[in-house]
Symmetry: none
Subunit: 139 residues, 2 copies
DNA sequence: CCTATAATGTACTAATTGTATCATTGTATA
DNA sequence: TATACAATGATACAATTAGTACATTATAGG
């Protein structure tokens, strides 16, 4: 199951900020396999209640972990350990997502009655004008 | 047959809202010909039951698709893939709508970090495979 | 026909979640 | 002491999903 209890041990006198301790312990539990990709972490409020701290402190820890791509926090949904696809899988997903996007586009264009010629011509034109409009602000 | 099973794969941890995933996958299946104009989609309640989500989440996805004129939801009747409107629109409107569609597509692709090369290559491939897959059923 | 009922989508609201901003507290240091 | 800054807390907000009641349509029984 992807619902975890997430037992953390805080030391309020250690000098380490609470949020740092949360960050460290989540990282170490992930390293130890106690947490796994896809696992859902407790909500900021639930964990805060359990640890007897303000939920903003937990949110801060989660934000740091999120920025480090260790977890993925989703407003209205919850917080999850990030799936870490190996690079070759990542590239495959990349291509699949572009393929899906392209097929949706082409399918919609055909559905609206446009021909292959029209579609490919419009794509060429649009790519060209996009490039011209952005030559100066390439990153 | 106009009654479809509509198999969708949701990823509850992907970061994409459920309703977005439903929207994307319906569009994708339409683009791939798995869904066709006139097909009836499952009712909001039936699909919600199958996906284990609230039926309002499905209703939200259907509403978005409806606003995009991709499906037609009819209270008391059901939900259907829209029939292709005959291109009775003027040529100018036709070109404008294709241009808008194309720019949305290209903008999204760039936003996802794909290069011009990747986009144009994928468009070529997709056009080619679509043509091959549909030579026999051209209308 | 007319009416009752079931099936369907709609509208509005509530609950759950994370986010943003500012206030408070504690501590180090000039 | 006074000031600056980091950590934490309080409050309001936003996004997503769920709950409830209702309107519309189709259909079966009389």
């Amino acid at each position: 199951m992807s619902e975890k209890k997430l037992t953390l041990q805080l030391d309020f006198h250690s000098g380490l900020p609470i949020y740092t301790q949360i960050v460290n312990q989540v990282q170490s539990q992930l390293a130890n396999g106690i947490l796994k990709p896809g696992d859902q972490l407790p909500t900021v409020r639930a964990l805060a209640l359990e640890l007897r701290v303000n939920f903003n402190t937990v949110a801060r820890a989660y934000r740091i972990l999120d920025e480090a791509r260790i977890i993925s926090t989703q407003q209205g949904r919850g917080t999850f350990i990030t799936e870490i696809p190996p690079p070759e899988v990542s590239e495959r997903l990349r291509q699949e997502s572009l393929s899906a996007l392209t097929q949706r586009f082409i399918g919609e264009a055909y559905r609206l009655g446009f021909s292959e010629r029209e579609v490919s011509q419009m794509v060429r034109d649009s790519l060209k004008s996009w490039k011209e409009a952005n030559v100066s602000e390439q990153d």
